[in-house]
């Protein structure tokens, strides 16, 4: 049996709980709005970081080899490398007797206009072209994130590739007569990290 005192206590308890819930109800939309605002800020930050990343990826040092066709480009003006009929070949390393490494050694030639070099100079293979030429910033972003188009890399692997790969690093040491990307490699990697840490968002 419940005594009248206990009944009163129970009634009061339930009433307090209802009051508390009723009182807290108006808080929910405020929290949700703040969460939405944070998400939107994070996305904006991510998009902004990727714009900086894209400024490097669309520099001639990257874009000359990330091409949809079979003839690489060269120079700051992206001339087709057609004077010697250079082709991608079955593995991205050229055709017999015209391999990329016939001329492109593991280091830059010191003479202006002579071939630049880095270890294993090559284009992406035809099965994974990683072509960026002509893409909008959003499409470039999606291509970069898509393992089917980026060489089967996760974002972590992509970070490591951009941080360490000799052909990527060559962009900042391109030899005489070639421009470097608009950000230093350190600034570039900090923007890549910021983009990834904020959700690796891509513009529509």
């Amino acid at each position: 049996m419940i005594s009248p005192y206990e009944r009163r206590f129970l009634i009061c308890g339930w009433a307090s709980l209802f009051a508390l819930l009723a009182g807290s109800a108006p808080l929910s939309p405020r929290i949700s709005a703040r969460a939405q605002e944070n998400t939107a800020n994070k996305k904006d930050k991510s998009l902004q970081a990727f714009r900086a990343v894209a400024s490097v990826l669309t520099s001639p040092r990257c874009l000359n080899c990330h091409i949809p066709g079979d003839a690489p480009l060269h120079g700051d003006d992206g001339k087709p490398h057609k004077e010697l009929n250079i082709k991608r070949g079955p593995d991205g390393r050229g055709t017999p007797a015209m391999r990329c490494t016939n001329c492109h050694q593991s280091e830059n030639a010191a003479t202006p206009h002579a071939p630049p070099g880095a270890p294993n100079w090559q284009l992406p293979p035809p099965s994974m072209r990683m072509a960026w030429q002509g893409l909008s910033t959003g499409d470039l972003c999606r291509t970069l994130k898509d393992p089917a188009k980026n060489g089967n890399m996760t974002l972590a692997q992509l970070y490591q590739h951009l941080d360490e790969h000799p052909l990527v690093l060559w962009a900042w040491n391109p030899g005489p007569g070639r421009s470097v990307p608009p950000l230093s490699h350190e600034q570039f990697m900090s923007k890549v990290k910021e983009w990834m840490d904020t959700g690796a968002a891509c513009a529509e």
Partner: protein
């Protein structure tokens, strides 16, 4: 000066030379292998082509340090007695005019045939596009490569 060890035309060789020296000058001036020619000095004409571990390489832009421990073959080492199918075909077709670019042409042709025993005209044009000839012997070069392919196939 540093000592760079490599194998040139099958012979173990030591080069006491600045390792940044282009391989072309090491071959011509240190080893006396003057069959390999200087053309442009910028890997644009192919006259200096030699083989490094079986690949056609422009020796004018290849520093000696890049070939340490590797096998280099020059036109003098293509065969001991001019019996390489490319050499036989070149003689039979009488390809050269002035002859200056021909060692490079032959070295590139040999690499093509090692990779493709029966090249089409298009394969030949692709492979030989990096070897220029001021005399314009391209048609004879193409014909000689077809013949060399035939000679190599019939020798098997």
């Amino acid at each position: 000066m540093e000592t760079t060890r490599l194998v040139v035309n099958g012979k173990a060789t030591e080069l006491n030379i600045d390792p940044a020296t282009p391989l072309l000058w090491a071959l011509r001036e240190k080893l006396g292998l003057t069959g390999t020619k200087f053309g442009c000095g910028m890997a644009l004409c192919g006259a200096c082509t030699v083989h490094v571990d079986g690949n056609a390489v422009r020796s004018c832009v290849t520093p000696v340090r890049a070939v340490a421990g590797k096998r280099v073959t020059t036109i003098e080492g293509l065969s001991a007695d001019c019996s390489h199918p490319v050499q036989r075909a070149w003689l039979q077709i009488q390809v050269p005019q002035c002859g200056y670019c021909q060692p490079g042409q032959m070295m590139s042709a040999a690499v093509l045939l090692a990779a493709n025993a029966n090249p089409s005209d298009a394969d030949i044009d692709d492979a030989m596009a990096g070897n220029l000839c001021r005399c314009g012997t391209y048609a004879r070069i193409r014909k000689a490569i077809h013949l060399a392919a035939e000679l190599a196939r019939s020798a098997k």
